[in-house]
């Protein structure tokens, strides 16, 4: 087996609390959107983070990026500790990590020409010479499959697909090593989805990128990711190589997720998951998932499971994983 590649981005015991308010007279506790996450992303891989709404994957992404300050825990970038800084300083230190919004076209200032937007990123990072900027912009536009003349247009004059490519170009100009993609295929038509994934794959090869791929769409994650982590209510409940995780999901939540995705052949399989996830303000005691878990036992309401190795490249946080049948 190949030796594992070096870690390029990682976090230990990461906790992110949101929404806490400190008034003159009283404090209101926030919610722990991310509650004790250990994650290690290897150089060059595509690491998927899946989960449904409220699981904390977007908050985790923003904490890795630095735009969201950690409440506790460490973040490491290429071996160095980079946590504990305010957003501006964090972004400066973690320049090698860039973030692509779900709709990168909407992330363009509508009053600026697209070329100016692209040049601005370069200017902020010290490339102020006009000819230098123009050369780099032309190169990047070609890499994302756009004509250099696009630079003269305003965002609203471009199609959604073109806007999306400009959004990608903008962060690629900054020569990142790690790109966090937040729901890159959500809401896209099937044919457009394929084109976007192909573009991402080509860019990864061309620029030697590492991807953190956040998505709620399991079928896409299965296609493009090397490793996957499944999140529920702020914690990682299962993690492993894509092949292993989808072939032998061990956590009941993962199984429910995989079973819930509608298949082209119309078949239904696996356990369903009734009800809604509890609010982050009322996290169940013991295993967070136990109230909705078909396989819950008494211990599950008392003890919190931790991630433990269940195979060569597979970890699961469930007290009963050994007892449950393989799917």
């Amino acid at each position: 087996m190949r030796p594992p590649l070096p870690e390029i981005l990682g976090a230990s015991d990461l906790v992110v609390e949101l929404g806490g308010r400190r008034g003159l007279l009283r404090r209101r506790a926030g919610v722990r959107a991310v509650d004790g996450v250990d994650i290690s992303i290897a150089e060059g891989e595509t690491f998927g983070i899946v989960g449904e709404s409220g699981c904390g994957k977007t908050t985790l992404a923003r904490a890795l990026l630095g735009l969201q300050r950690e409440t506790a825990g460490d973040v490491r970038l290429q071996g160095r500790r980079v946590s504990g800084l305010d957003p501006r300083a964090a972004r400066h230190v973690r320049e090698a990590v860039q973030y692509v919004h779900q709709d990168p076209g909407a992330a363009l200032d509508p009053w600026w020409r697209v070329g100016a937007t692209l040049a601005e990123g370069l200017a902020i990072h010290g490339v102020t010479d006009r000819t230098d900027q123009r050369a780099r912009i032309a190169e990047i536009l070609a890499a994302v499959g756009l004509d250099a003349a696009m630079a003269e247009h305003y965002p609203h004059e471009l199609s959604g697909g073109q806007q999306r490519r400009i959004g990608l170009a903008r962060i690629l100009l900054l020569r990142p090593k790690i790109v966090i993609l937040d729901e890159p295929t959500a809401g896209l038509d099937l044919s457009v989805q394929a084109a976007v994934l192909r573009l991402l794959r080509d860019l990864r090869a061309r620029f030697g990128l590492t991807y953190v791929f956040i998505s709620h769409d399991l079928s896409v994650v299965r296609r493009v990711c090397d490793r996957v982590a499944v999140m529920y209510l702020g914690r990682i409940v299962e993690q492993g190589s894509t092949a292993t995780l989808f072939a032998e999901p061990r956590h009941p939540y993962t199984r429910a997720l995989i079973a819930a995705a509608p298949h082209l052949d119309g078949r239904e399989s696996g356990p369903s998951l009734p009800g809604d996830p509890p609010s982050l303000r009322a996290i169940p005691l013991g295993c967070r998932f136990h109230p909705r878990c078909a396989a819950a036992a008494d211990t599950c309401a008392r003890r919190e499971p931790v991630l433990e190795q269940s195979g060569a490249a597979h970890a699961v946080a469930c007290l009963r994983w050994r007892d449950l049948d393989a799917a």
Partner: protein, 280 residues
């Protein structure tokens, strides 16, 4: 720009714009358009209170001055006052709105409460009070108007800054390492500009009307200034015989305020980003 095209398609707003443009031309060329430019300060008692005629299309006032000329000359005053007040109010209100909107915390709260206080002050009372402190006249009136109008700009810019703060492109800019100063000045401000422009246009109309009221009450422009409000005030004791005396200055006020308001409304519709974005 597409906004301009949309505006022109809105007939009512275009009409308002035409009025404003017309007033602007009149104001710039006033001394040359007015048939009796000296009537700004000279009086001809022999011709007092003549009804409208060929020689005096709007009639003459109580001091025999040609009302048409004084209305034309008064346009200059009205516009100058309005522009000065609006610019001053913007200079105070926009930075306050930006600072209050950008971050949450005690600074933001304090600034917005100060804004509320100034909003609560009635302009006329303030003008009267300032008139006592400084010399009464158009200067004091302008200070009073600026001091009571800047909160509208502050509120508008505050709302825009708050809205834009959570805009995706602002988040993206923070992501690529842009400083708050850069984001505020180069991105938030231009995006807030349409709202500020709309507020400024309506503010022009509002100021002209209020300045006229102050002139009417005697705490604004002083005689022999060709101020429209002052003219209406001077006309009071000559009613109902000299009907032409207050009518034409009054109509001028009406028309110009209407023009600015219609234009402002149209600008508000044209500046709607949703309309701009669906240009394709």
């Amino acid at each position: 720009m597409t906004a301009l095209r949309l505006l022109l398609r809105d007939r009512v707003a275009a009409f308002g714009g035409l009025i404003v443009l017309f007033a602007l031309v009149v104001a710039i060329f006033a001394p040359w358009i007015a048939p009796y430019p000296d009537d700004a300060f000279e009086s001809h008692i022999m011709q007092r209170l003549r009804p409208p005629s060929a020689a005096f299309p709007f009639g003459t006032d109580n001091l025999g001055r040609d009302i048409l000329s004084r209305v034309i000359l008064g346009t200059r005053n009205a516009l100058l006052v309005a522009v000065a007040v609006v610019l001053a109010a913007m200079a105070i209100g926009v930075p306050i709105g930006l600072a209050a909107g950008w971050r949450e915390g005690w600074l933001s709260e304090t600034l917005m409460r100060v804004t509320d206080v100034f909003l609560a002050v009635p302009q006329l009372i303030l003008a009267l009070a300032l008139g006592q402190l400084i010399a009464p006249g158009i200067g004091a009136a302008m200070v009073a108007l600026a001091l009571t109008y800047w909160p509208f700009f502050a509120r508008t810019v505050f709302a825009e800054t708050r809205r834009l703060r959570s805009a995706l492109f602002v988040d993206a800019l923070a992501g690529i390492g842009a400083s708050p100063a850069r984001i505020l000045l180069l991105h938030v401000l231009p995006n807030a500009a349409p709202a500020v422009l709309v507020r400024a246009t309506i503010g022009m109309g509002f100021t002209i009307l209020t300045a006229a009221i102050l002139g009417f009450l005697g705490v604004g422009a002083a005689p022999p200034s060709p101020d429209w409000g002052l003219a209406v005030s001077e006309a009071r004791q000559h009613l109902p015989e000299a009907w032409w005396f207050p009518t034409f200055p009054g109509l001028a006020i009406l028309l110009l305020v209407l023009g600015f308001n219609l234009l402002g409304d149209g600008l508000r519709d044209a500046a709607d980003p949703r309309l701009r974005r669906s240009r394709r």
